[in-house]
Symmetry: C2
């Protein structure tokens, strides 16, 4: 920071207070003075120091983006959300600082302390699991936060998720409409909140559209391709009559597709497949994957908007569900 507010004050022949007021649009400044100050500031290419301002105002206009599982190759879901968060926050004059839970953990500090030390005004949390010790902290802390994909609601903590229940319903309904008689479900990790909701949607839809829910056709995997592959093998071994499967993630569904290819199972003729997420890959695998799309970018935007409302208007946090959308391609 070369040129400071004092330089401007000196050059304009006024006090620093006046410069501050003029530049920040305070009402009590003479119009001619204001113009002069603005002119001089521009001339000098003056940029107020965010750091100094943060110190005195006690807010930094800086939001933390806390990511667990922030690692190579995990972009399928994270990236678009991140862009949405960034875009919305930037639009409102906030900066975004990347924070990974690993970093905080390594330094053995609580995530709240970590954010407080940096003077972050709020946090958006993504990729965190139900059983993560940070969950409790996030909920109880008074640091304004919005969580993505985990229904945590408290005085200072809101959340944004896809409507997973309905997403799962759409999948089942579509499978039924296609004529599937016996529908299986490959769910994701049990400790993920989204898995519970997708299971609920699956169960409800089965009761409604098929007239009954049989938990034996539900099997669990870990959201990965290999997991999906194994899970499907397992499911079909135990229930060879299954003619339609709903996977709780596209990656798992693609794993399932690979299994089908190896085993000579024709998709969708022998087995109809529906995924969840609509990642890029979905359009490129063959046959193309029918799936339930999540509005990833919009989730990021929504999370950011909510946090901004909390920060600026003191609004209460809330739980927001965004609508998923069935994208019909070739596998079902």
């Amino acid at each position: 920071m070369r040129v400071t507010i004092r330089d401007v004050a000196r050059a304009a022949g006024v006090s620093v207070t006046t410069v501050s007021r003029a530049l920040n649009g305070a009402a009590d400044v003479g119009e001619e003075t204001r113009q002069r100050v603005i002119e001089v500031a521009k001339q000098l290419n003056y940029r107020p120091s965010h750091v100094a301002r943060s110190l005195v105002l006690r807010k930094s206009q800086n939001i933390g983006l806390l990511v667990s599982e922030f690692r190579k190759g995990s972009h399928h879901f994270l990236y678009d959300v991140l862009v949405g968060v960034h875009d919305t926050l930037a639009e409102h004059g906030y900066d975004v600082t990347l924070v990974s839970t690993d970093t905080a953990r390594q330094q053995l500090v609580s995530y709240v302390d970590f954010c407080r030390a940096r003077g972050l005004d709020g946090v958006i949390v993504m990729g965190i699991r139900l059983d993560d010790p940070y969950v409790e902290e996030v909920v109880e802390s008074s640091l304004p936060s919005v969580v993505i994909d985990l229904p945590l609601l408290s005085r200072h903590c809101g959340y944004v998720m896809t409507d997973n229940v309905n997403g799962a319903r759409y999948a089942v309904r579509h499978l039924v409409a296609r004529g599937c008689k016996r529908i299986g479900f490959v769910n994701g990790a049990a400790h993920a909140a989204v898995s519970r909701e997708r299971l609920r949607g699956f169960e409800e839809a089965m009761r409604q559209y098929v007239g009954g829910y049989d938990e034996r056709v539900v099997v669990y995997a870990d959201f990965t391709l290999e997991g999906g592959q194994r899970a499907l093998a397992d499911l079909l071994r135990r229930h060879p009559d299954v003619d339609g499967v709903f996977f709780a993630s596209d990656l798992m569904a693609i794993g399932g597709l690979q299994y089908c290819k190896e085993e000579g199972i024709r998709v969708p003729q022998d087995l109809a497949v529906v995924g969840f997420d609509d990642i890029d890959l979905a359009r490129f695998v063959s046959p193309q994957l029918t799936t339930v799309a999540q509005p990833r970018y919009e989730m990021g935007c929504e999370a950011a908007s909510m946090l901004i409302s909390m920060l600026q208007k003191g609004e209460m946090p809330s739980g927001t569900l965004l609508p998923p959308q069935l994208v019909v391609r070739e596998t079902a």
Copy 2:
């Protein structure tokens, strides 16, 4: 920030100066005093304010990650780099602030001013183009910076790239070894620095391995799938004898593959295809794409390391080339 250095000082019965020294490992503090201070600080759960420290030290331990083209769906290259940058920086105690060129542009401020206002210690730039007006600023500014995928070198600006020349050479050599007689090249956007280098590699390799370079088999597209599709159609129309094609990006190569499928061209029998990047998709398209892999994560790490060396040891910036690697799959 609730508890400040004064609280610690008071509780420990010493001055703030002493607390500061004790906590920062200064030599001239009595050992017992230091222990007491540390103990009290822990008791009070004291966290020094980064903001206050930044103000007085005139450095923020915060690095900007300047991204142009920071938008939905552009993750194929960016994400892993970003993770690499974050990991390395975090490891060395730096925070990462996301900055998109759009944001700066909207506010009509130069990128340097933008970073200075935020007190950023340095910047890592990615996704910027040769003809971007910011390029000049980056090179001339005294703000330490490292650019990814653009060879900009100056007193305060270094760069990290894949060795694109050799990457292209590997592709051509492989195509030749497979028996291709007439090799075409679908290059990326001309304003991208990487395109120039890949072209050079292509040219050199053709002269070396084939004994001649014919610029008529070089066609340009824009790195996108659709672009690659059109470019290949164009290339084959004009040169039906082409039996091997090197694409400057996987996305374009995949577009080319789609064109082949539509036209009934068998890959690799009728036409061998090699891409560049090794994005996730490469393994999933059918036939699987043979490609030149870029070490994306490592590029991010390397860029971060270079910046840290500049910042901490005052080292001169440099140009670093990272080795690409040919990944042979099914298309060539």
